[in-house]
């Protein structure tokens, strides 16, 4: 999802604000502007992002299994295994750890990238 959103965001920032202003000027309300102008313009980027995310998700498990040796256990596979034998409490704990790891990684990324607002033109 984040990849798809970033791609769409990048193409949104590429749109000249006066194009949307022109539509408003001709009598379109904000919903109309979004439907007629903004959406068609970000469509290609949106689909590219989505396709990328889809391919990534479909191949994720196999890629990880391929990368590590057999003595390692894959966490998502473990969660699946736990739920299959109806041990939801253990699965929940593992889920929580997984979420924590992802959030931690995102947090570190955010610190490394710094203030993202700097790169955006203030209007």
């Amino acid at each position: 999802m984040p990849v798809g959103i970033e791609a769409a965001k990048a193409s949104l920032l590429q749109i000249d604000p006066s194009i949307e202003e022109a539509a408003t000027d001709l009598g379109a309300n904000s919903a109309r502007v979004f439907k007629d102008i903004t959406l068609p313009l970000i469509k290609p980027a949106w689909f590219t992002g989505m396709a990328y995310v889809f391919v990534h998700c479909m191949t994720a498990v196999s890629a990880v299994i391929f990368l590590v040796s057999a003595k390692w256990n894959h966490m998502t596979v473990l969660i699946l295994a736990q739920t299959e034998i109806l041990r939801f409490s253990a699965a929940s704990v593992l889920c929580l750890i997984l979420i924590a790891i992802v959030l931690l990684a995102f947090g570190i990324m955010k610190i490394l990238i710094g203030d993202t607002k700097l790169s955006r033109a203030s209007s």
């Binding site: 000249d16 006066s18 202003e21 022109a22 408003t24 000027d25 001709l26 009598g27 102008i37 313009l41």
Partner: protein
């Protein structure tokens, strides 16, 4: 139909920097009346607030205070889509995913007109701007001039009460700019549509306008017909901004209803126009356009030395210096009978007193 079509009263816009809290006054209490069918140009250097005024008329900016009345209706609080105004953008702002016909027809589609009426209006406007045969092209398949026509047609087809131009010609090359300028003007006059035109190009403003408003630092410096603004500037800023001007320091000696005697470089010269209420002894500047000064070998008001000569095609431009080392720019038509002077030659500058004017208050420069 009212005489006063667009009325702007004490319009003010203050931008606040959200981080530092600094306030910048972009437009300072401007009042203008624009008549029906008139083309008024807002002229000024970048950052003088002209575009902000235009965007407030269109509704893209909300005024800090003041009113905008369009056709007896207060519009300052309405969003852009509820106002009957159309704008031609500097970047044209065409919809890149729609073809020419769809671009122009977008405003009509929003008006929920019947397909037949829409088709009629579309054909008429395409004919008017000369875009026959380009209906199914995308904006990126058009030249700059054609894109400009599409932008113009798209703004015109919705029959706005007022047409707004935001530096529409600044992306075109010099030659095309001139022809598009004439086309915009003739179209505007033919349809008699009230227009506000923003530009920083004084030649463009002089050529196209019924009235020019010269702006500087958010305030109106002078408002008037192109001839008035060019020949009778009221402030040094206007004199300097409206093309090349020589500003010669002068002292007012005596004034009457018919003439004004000034002292220039120690010489008293009479000018056949009344001084704008000034006491004798007042320091002022005489404004002379380069084309209103002649060079002569024997007679003239000021003795000058030629520093440099440049050939401009239609004219020779001489950069000269007076005995008080004040620089004077003089432009002489380069026809065959005109005498050509050489650099370092000592000659006389002959002013054309009728075409000169006087300005006071030199603190701006």
């Amino acid at each position: 139909m009212s005489e006063r079509h667009l009325k702007i009263e004490a319009l003010r816009k203050v931008f606040t920097n959200q981080k530092t809290g600094n306030e910048v006054v972009a437009v300072a209490d401007i009042s203008v009346d624009i008549k029906k069918g008139e083309l008024v140009t807002l002229l000024g250097p970048s950052g003088c607030g002209k575009t902000t005024v235009l965007r407030m008329i269109a509704g893209f900016e909300t005024p800090t205070s003041g009113t905008i009345t369009l056709n007896e209706k207060e519009v300052a609080s309405l969003p852009p889509n509820k106002r009957n105004s159309s704008m031609v953008f500097q970047s044209y702002a065409l919809f890149p995913h729609l073809n020419v016909q769809e671009n122009i027809g977008y405003g009509l589609k929003l008006k929920r007109l019947s397909a037949k009426v829409r088709k009629e209006k579309l054909l008429k406007i395409i004919d008017l701007v000369g875009l026959h045969g380009y209906e199914s092209r995308r904006p990126n398949e058009l030249s700059g001039g054609q894109q400009q026509r599409v932008a113009l047609a798209r703004a015109l087809v919705v029959e706005p009460e007022i047409l707004l131009f935001d530096e529409p010609l600044s992306n075109l090359d010099a030659k095309l700019r001139e022809s598009m300028r004439n086309e915009i003007r003739s179209l505007q006059q033919r349809l008699s549509i009230t227009s506000v035109y923003v530009t920083h190009d004084q030649v463009e403003a002089l050529a196209i306008s019924d009235r020019i408003i010269v702006m500087n630092k958010g305030e109106i410096e002078q408002m008037g017909r192109p001839e008035e603004v060019y020949l009778r500037p009221q402030t040094p800023f206007v004199a300097d901004f409206m093309g090349a001007a020589n500003l010669i320091p002068a002292e007012v000696k005596s004034t009457s209803a018919q003439e004004c005697v000034l002292e220039l470089n120690g010489k008293q010269i009479s000018f056949p126009w009344p001084c704008p209420d000034s006491p004798s002894g007042a320091q002022a500047y005489l404004v002379c356009r380069p084309e209103n000064i002649q060079l002569h070998e024997k007679e003239g008001e000021l003795s000058v030395k030629i520093l440099e000569r440049q050939y401009l095609g239609s004219a020779y431009e001489y950069i000269t210096q007076t005995s008080l080392s004040q620089k004077l720019i003089i432009r002489l038509a380069a026809n065959t009978c005109a005498k050509v002077f050489e650099a370092r030659q000592e000659v006389f500058a002959k002013l054309s007193p009728k075409d000169c004017s006087l300005v006071f208050n030199f603190k701006n420069r």
